[in-house]
Symmetry: C2
Subunit: 562 residues, 2 copies
């Protein structure tokens, strides 16, 4: 019989526990030790915003398995309250300190797993240490934030950073009655997650929930009294708040690895190969402390997610017990719930795709997630990003109160497999009225992009139409909705003209033949059809506004006198 192997795993969040439990299933005899610097092990940190909002009643609900259960079920020794201080690669040892009694010792390893996670970025700005300014990373953070919220006098909160955590925390705080202001240095929300068209829709939704957005403002510091924060100070103004969530981003926790001489990447990540092995063949790394290859571009990206961490733990367990499993990389799928809006993305965003050198064609369609006649249908807005060279789908993203995430998962699967837009157009997705329309919005998107690529139609984004209007361009914005719809809400401009689709064929001869016409309607369907009609009648410069009024995030005039 082989000598018993010693497996040591540093980090007890997601990747570590997964690696430990599976290593036991693959090797019944090894000594497996997991080192964790806090008391909690194997917990869903992603659930913390919902613990803070009260949807989840206690931090313990988020914990999958505690140290005692790990021993009992998987025969894994979990050293809680234990810090890993250094790695002696030559001696194959990890030096550790028990944080409760200060005792130090060393763990011998045959294979070592670094699942050290990531740390919130906390710049040394003025007042960052004031009470009331908090990051959210672990269960104790959430408990402290709950205490801060309970003690709040003003019920005014500031979120610094409009990324995934910032947006989740916005919802949590609003649900608890807080007046929330978001400070974001970039000029839009979720800039690293979704494109501008989607961001603008989310911003409109968030503002509708009473949230104040301070975009393009840089946080400078915090001011307070008696050690407690009272104001967040930006480069432009000062905002009152006695609860501040600081969420500008996280960075791989690669200190141990770096000090041990392991290779560190541009994100501060521990560099690993396709087996999730570091440049030391006896040391693996996974979870938030590593970067990933986006396998559309082959470029490394830092997208720290619990889902990836869990899968990587699984792969590491196989490889450290003598198996041969490949970690393929990611397509950068992400999603977040923001009030009533579901938000998702996968693959490349439009700008990323352009930067990566693709000849990009996009499509933007709002629509209902169920047949209009079926009760409970809700709006979804999806954007598709395609490479005109290969017709391959590069990315997709969307938002709305309807079923966005199913479409994102379909696109993530297709992108992973190199699907073309032709295949998407005829994809055999599940159809029955309680679940979908006979054609999914993805089918419509694929057809729209195919029509654009074939030169059959030219689309303009709402933002592009807005720019044309702002420049007072010489074109007609032809609204083909009904008179009633037009009356209820319309884009007011000198260029705007109403000609309902029902009268288009009779009256189109009155339209200027040699002038640019941009068609619009409610969601873009009628505008598209009408544009085809005008093109068929020989008009040359006809476009349609993709998404039309449903995706229009600028001013609209309602109930005008007609």
């Amino acid at each position: 019989m082989d000598k018993k192997k010693n497996f040591v795993i540093i980090g007890g969040g997601a990747c570590g526990p997964k690696a430990a439990a599976r290593a036991r299933r693959l090797d019944a005899n090894a000594n497996i030790t997991m080192v964790q610097d806090e008391v909690y092990t194997s917990y869903a940190a992603c659930g913390l915003p919902y613990f803070i909002s009260g949807l989840v009643k206690s931090g313990n609900e988020l914990m999958v398995r505690n140290a005692e259960a790990f021993k009992r079920i998987s025969n894994v020794d979990v050293l809680i309250h234990t810090r890993a201080d250094s790695i002696d690669r030559a001696a194959h040892q990890v030096h550790i300190t028990n944080l409760l009694d200060g005792q130090t010792s060393a763990l011998q390893y045959d294979k070592l797993v670094l699942a050290t996670g990531a740390n919130p970025i906390i710049p040394p700005i003025k007042g960052i240490d004031l009470q009331g300014v908090h990051v959210l990373k672990k269960i104790p953070d959430a408990e402290e934030i709950i205490a801060l919220m309970t003690a709040s006098v003003t019920h005014k909160a500031v979120i610094v950073g409009a990324g995934l955590i910032g947006m989740e925390m916005t919802e949590s705080l609003v649900s608890k009655g807080f007046e929330v202001t978001i400070i974001e240095a970039l000029d839009r929300l979720l800039a690293a997650v979704v494109d501008e068209e989607i961001t603008d829709l989310i911003a409109r939704h968030v503002k509708g929930k009473g949230v104040t957005l301070k975009l393009g403002q840089r946080i400078v510091g915090f001011e307070g009294e008696k050690g407690h924060v009272q104001r967040a100070v930006t480069d432009k103004e000062s905002i009152e708040a006695d609860v501040v969530i600081f969420a500008i981003g996280i960075r791989p926790n690669s200190k141990l690895a770096k000090e041990a001489g392991l290779e560190i990447g541009t994100f501060g990540d521990i560099v690993v190969d396709q087996h999730l092995r570091t440049n030391d063949p006896d040391i693996y790394a996974g979870g938030d402390c590593v970067a990933n290859v986006n396998f559309i571009t082959g470029q490394k990206v830092f997208v720290p997610l619990g889902s990836t961490a869990n899968k990587q733990g699984h792969v590491i367990a196989a490889n450290m017990t003598g198996g041969d499993q490949i970690w393929p990389g990611i397509v950068s799928t992400a999603c977040v719930k923001i009030f009533d809006f579901n938000v998702g993305r996968t693959g490349l965003g439009e700008k990323e795709a352009v930067s990566a050198g693709y000849d990009v064609v996009t499509g933007l369609i709002p629509g209902l997630d169920l047949p209009e006649y079926y009760p409970g249908s809700k709006e979804v807005i999806i954007k598709l990003i395609v490479d005109a060279g290969t017709h391959r789908i590069l990315g997709g993203q969307g938002t709305g109160s309807g079923e966005v995430i199913k479409r994102i998962d379909v696109l993530a699967t297709g992108i992973t497999m190199g699907m073309t837009v032709e295949t998407l157009a005829n994809l055999d997705l599940a159809y029955a009225p309680p679940y979908n329309s006979s054609l999914d919005i993805l089918h419509h998107l694929a057809n729209l992009v195919l029509n654009k690529m074939a030169g059959r139609i030219q689309g303009l984004k709402p933002k592009e139409v807005k720019e044309k209007l702002d420049k007072n361009g010489d074109f007609t914005l032809l609204d083909v909705r009904s008179r009633g719809e037009f009356k209820a809400a319309r884009i007011e401009s000198p260029q705007t003209r109403l000609l309902p689709q029902s009268r288009l064929r009779q009256e189109m001869q009155d339209l200027p033949k040699d002038k640019e016409i941009v068609m619009m309607c409610h969601r873009g369907v009628r505008a598209y059809q009408a544009a085809c009609t005008l093109k068929g009648a020989g008009m040359k410069d006809v476009k349609f506004m993709e998404g039309s009024l449903a995706c229009w995030c600028d001013d609209v005039v309602g109930e005008p006198p007609l």
Copy 2:
């Protein structure tokens, strides 16, 4: 300028209207005529069960566009109340009859589209013409069924045929207070849709809603008084009912095509090539009157769905206007809502896959569609079917009250693209607590199948365990749940033994080393882990029951004295 083309389309359901509207967008000048034998055009026949249940308030809501709107918007002439009598291929003419005034005439075509749909199968059995016995195909059928239900005295209904329509109508009738009995000649529900494991779960659910199942009974006829049905008679018994929905299946309506000498397939379908062209190059066909190639097996299958019909209309429009678009075929995706259960399937079922010559491995996992800590999570049960030779995913199906259909759509996409189970295991699906667990049930399924293929674990289906128990086999059914769970509900047998997972490592030496042990728990997770533990301890004949109690459809003893 080219001479104006004449396009004639026979059939105004789904494929026909789609072809007509797009043909207009692609050819502004053609004369386009659509022939429809009823007054309704372009309507969602799939919504009829929801019109009957009252969820949809009127038949008109199901109609996308009437004849007048077709003319106005798409400049398509729709001849309603018009029957196509014959096709003169040599003369390129369709002979038609106006059903209101009996006038006959002929339409000249350059390209002809047959979108003649399918007809319900109505065998000439005794009493089939009695009032109260009805099929469901068109809006007038639904209106007549509603009238029958309103006039019902007994509020007892019989559904003949447990396919998709039969099951949808079961829900509609129960929702209207009817006592429903389903008569099905095969020994299970939805036999053409899902495998036995899924069927059994659905049957349990349906019975729980008060529906009576008469499986393995063949309908022989109907008996009544004063011309109205009062009893359905099977080969075994007679069942009282004054409303009968006859839904044993549909058959392509290919009479016109056949009489015109076009090639007809084994399903009675109009044979078409990849361009949806019949053996006459000027005649296309699409929708329910054609069969499709399942592109996993390359075999022809008859899966008539509105989704496929719409996509085919789109393809036909391109090809008949001079384009070149390929119809790739289907992966036989289907879904249906049955009370609180969502049901979906895609690809091949297990038996189909075995028949097609694959070396089949399956996995069955019940689980929650959201993290357990997140409110509102619901149960889903998914089965995965994989080819052990290539590791390609062949099929997937599932049911449960949770989000089944998203998983089916992901699998449909993966199967279309030839995805392997390795890729599925690491697929970058969207993760955030409001949408999913960090690992999707599909990831777990992929890992289970990989572990089974690698010989790391052996799974048994609940039915296989039941058979072993029925044979009084010499094995131990080891339940590793807690004592409390065991007390609440358990499989009672001489083989059953309780050993909670928390005590397994301490007490496993007491288990027989040389006897077969089948592990079970609630959903199979602990049983799987425990089986790995026992195998690790050197026990040779250890298996686990996939799906365990959650998928057990036979007797369970609750609250026994312990």
